[in-house]
Symmetry: C2
Subunit: 450 residues, 2 copies
């Protein structure tokens, strides 16, 4: 069951804060999940958010910190001393603590680390800070349960009890050799159902999926998703077990990647949200619009070249937005399917095959649409039949061109290591607008003999 | 580490199949994960896919069935007798087995169910088939570990060993009363670290998140994601524990939902992939294109109305694709941010506030873009300054209009229970094209006094 923030609840909280009734506030928030408290804080002003944060005890606030928007978190952290921040981080798992430290300004980073109470915890966090945040190393946590292949089940259970104190969820028990190299895994279930005297080396599973510290996060996500893993161990260059990644971190990666592709298709760069400031939203949106505007300049210029046509066939100019829009739509459709296929790794095989398939598809769609256009321009719009022929043949050519470009560009971008999602959205619509108009008038001139 | 399908590997397999060397094939596929074998089968022709399926033993084939594309799976199942299908399903968990049965034709469904060996398993599957596939009931599995609140830890561990036989991953231990009503949960860790004589009622956690059988799948996904849950229990109308949903099923929901929104933004309906047939791809793409084409008819008609303007200001017609494209781009940007916000439940507060924010944002963007357009039309394109003024002021108005429409429509759709993602893509670009052109010429006529 989920808690829903209501307007009434928010004003009740605002009321309590303005009257400085911290006890009543604590009571009100007592049974509310930290993820919900974070959402409440994001709805309040800075003072209100800070007030709630200072009122709650650190066990809850540490988790709240994690759930907050980066912007709100930064404001809260700015008002905390390094010692206070360290106290929050002591409550968190290593990967979460490292993520928060990474956001701090350089000088504060070191102060906070030096204030961490648990030395082992601090060492683990410092170790995690070395890795690129988009890599397996940047995603992994140090909390894991590992056993030596030479132990027996009894020692194993004993050791595990000690280790499990620091681990909130036991996913898998990893088996290592004396050099800490990953050898295999052991399921909790096996441990539950095996005699205590059995040697680990007899029962552990030697086949274990793993990733290296420098594997890209999206790659880790794909592997865990494909093989249905809830956790995956991470090894260093020497094959030594250095951490583990759990599925909840991967969900964030999957969600972010999907959101990013969606935003790029809609012409928004950076990961923005509706609640971000106008300046941030402008930074994410304006560059694409400027790009489209310059593309527009070219289309104005191209149309200007065909001005002489206007004298004899002004109606051709009425059809330009239609042709441009169709080119844009077809281009986005084609590229979106390829971008998604590339993201899911289902695009294999030679490019030529893809293009041939897209060619058949666009021929089929194009012919149907051209016939509708022919009928529509004659019956609906009342233009002469030779105008209908001209725009219909032009439409067919433009659709074929747009779909081939939409297929080709993302594949090429991907080949050269550029995010193919860049090709969707304003980029493809703008270039297809221009090429569409050029193709359209060229064909019209040929057909009409002007 | 992940296995990658290479062209060479595929042709090696094709070779072995054509030479009917099943033993060599088995050897080659021995260490390959079932998810990878499924991918290989999807690359082969029907005969090859069937050959591999028949060669492997049923422990592996059951999992492969799950991983296959629906289309390929259907072909494989068509060639199996009800008894053979039942044998595959006996290897699967209840939710996976139910998903596959749900895809079978009605008469085959009953035959397969009657052939299931394990009666309990069969009963659970039949039970699951009752639920809507987009609900918690449709997602859940029956495999779970539950204990009675009146037991002690020792009984508990004993009972759990028996239950765990059927459960591949133990996420949480659920505590129920004598009526099977969900009372709370117990972590494996607690069980590992508690004395065996302790009574369950003393140690279990009374606060437990749960969903009802009829909760929507996207809602379940949001709850599990927000509260960072790896499994969630499902209760019926009377609060009785009837199943559990695990995070791996939720990842599929998240992925599908994100893919769907992305595709709608790109003007593709239905969940299609690059590898689908041309007919399926056409079914997903053509309707949007036809919609856009009819929108295009309206824009042709609108431009026709303004034909008299052509005599004095032909250049206005050169700017129409630019204006239409900008209106489309701005509209998609605005709606995409709202659609994403609605999906993530971050859009709260009155609509008027949103519109005011969008108004400021579009004013800021619009003024910058209009100045660029003014400068560009004068310096780059060489048009007279009064032309520049006219198109710039029109652009500003069109941008404001487009962004307000882009914000308003998804919110309204959502309010009336329609998927707001429908509003992005061709729908918004087409309507903004038309309105943009209309606004543009109306303003131009006023300014130029024609």
């Amino acid at each position: 069951m989920e808690f829903k923030i209501s307007r009434e609840f928010l004003s009740e909280i605002e009321q309590l804060i303005s009257e400085n009734k911290s006890q009543e506030l604590l009571l009100l928030l007592e049974d509310i999940h930290f993820a919900d408290i974070a959402e409440i804080m994001e709805e309040l002003d800075d003072y209100g958010a800070g007030y709630i944060f200072n009122t709650l005890d650190s066990e809850k606030t540490a988790e709240i910190l994690l759930e907050l928007d980066e912007e709100v978190r930064e404001k809260i952290l700015r008002n905390l001393s390094p010692k206070e921040i360290a106290e929050e981080l002591d409550e968190l798992s290593t990967d979460d603590a490292a993520d928060i430290i990474a956001e701090l300004p350089q000088h504060k980073k070191e102060q906070v680390i030096s204030e961490l109470e648990d030395v082992e915890h601090a060492k683990d966090i410092v170790d995690l800070l070395r890795y690129d945040e988009d890599s397996a190393g940047g995603l992994m946590g140090k909390e894991l349960v590992k056993v030596n292949e030479n132990w027996n089940v009894l020692t194993c259970v004993k050791e595990m009890r000690a280790q499990a104190e620091n681990v909130s969820r036991v996913h898998s028990i990893y088996v290592v050799d004396d050099e800490d190299r990953l050898k295999g895994r052991l399921s909790l279930k096996d441990l539950l159902t095996t005699s205590t005297k059995t040697h680990i080396s007899e029962v552990y599973i030697k086949k274990v999926d793993y990733v290296k510290v420098d594997t890209k996060d999206v790659e880790v996500a794909r592997i865990m998703q494909k093989y249905d893993l809830e956790a995956i161990p991470v090894v260093d260059e020497l094959g030594r077990l250095v951490g583990r990644i759990t599925i909840d971190d991967i969900i964030d990666v999957i969600k972010e990647e999907a959101d990013k592709d969606y935003q790029l298709a809609a012409g928004i760069s950076q990961d923005v949200e509706a609640d971000d400031s106008i300046l941030e939203l402008t930074k994410a949106r304006l560059p694409w619009l400027v790009l489209a505007l310059f593309g527009g300049f070219i289309s104005v210029h191209v149309l200007g070249i065909f001005e002489p046509v206007m004298k004899f066939h002004p109606e051709l100019f009425f059809f330009t937005p239609l042709i441009a829009a169709m080119a844009g739509n077809v281009g986005v459709q084609s590229s979106a399917i390829i971008v998604q296929g590339l993201a899911n790794n289902t695009i294999i095989g030679p490019v030529v095959e893809r293009l041939l398939k897209e060619l058949s598809l666009s021929l089929l769609n194009g012919v149907i649409l051209s016939i509708i256009l022919l009928a529509g321009s004659y019956f609906l719009l009342g233009y002469e039949i030779h105008v209908g022929y001209t725009v219909s043949i032009a439409l067919l050519s433009v659709i074929i061109m747009a779909s081939l470009i939409g297929t080709f560009i993302p594949i090429i971008l991907n080949k050269y290591g550029v995010d193919p999602a860049l090709a969707t959205g304003p980029f493809i619509t703008t270039s297809n607008d221009i090429l569409g108009i050029l193709t359209y008038f060229t064909i019209a001139k040929i057909i009409l003999g002007i």
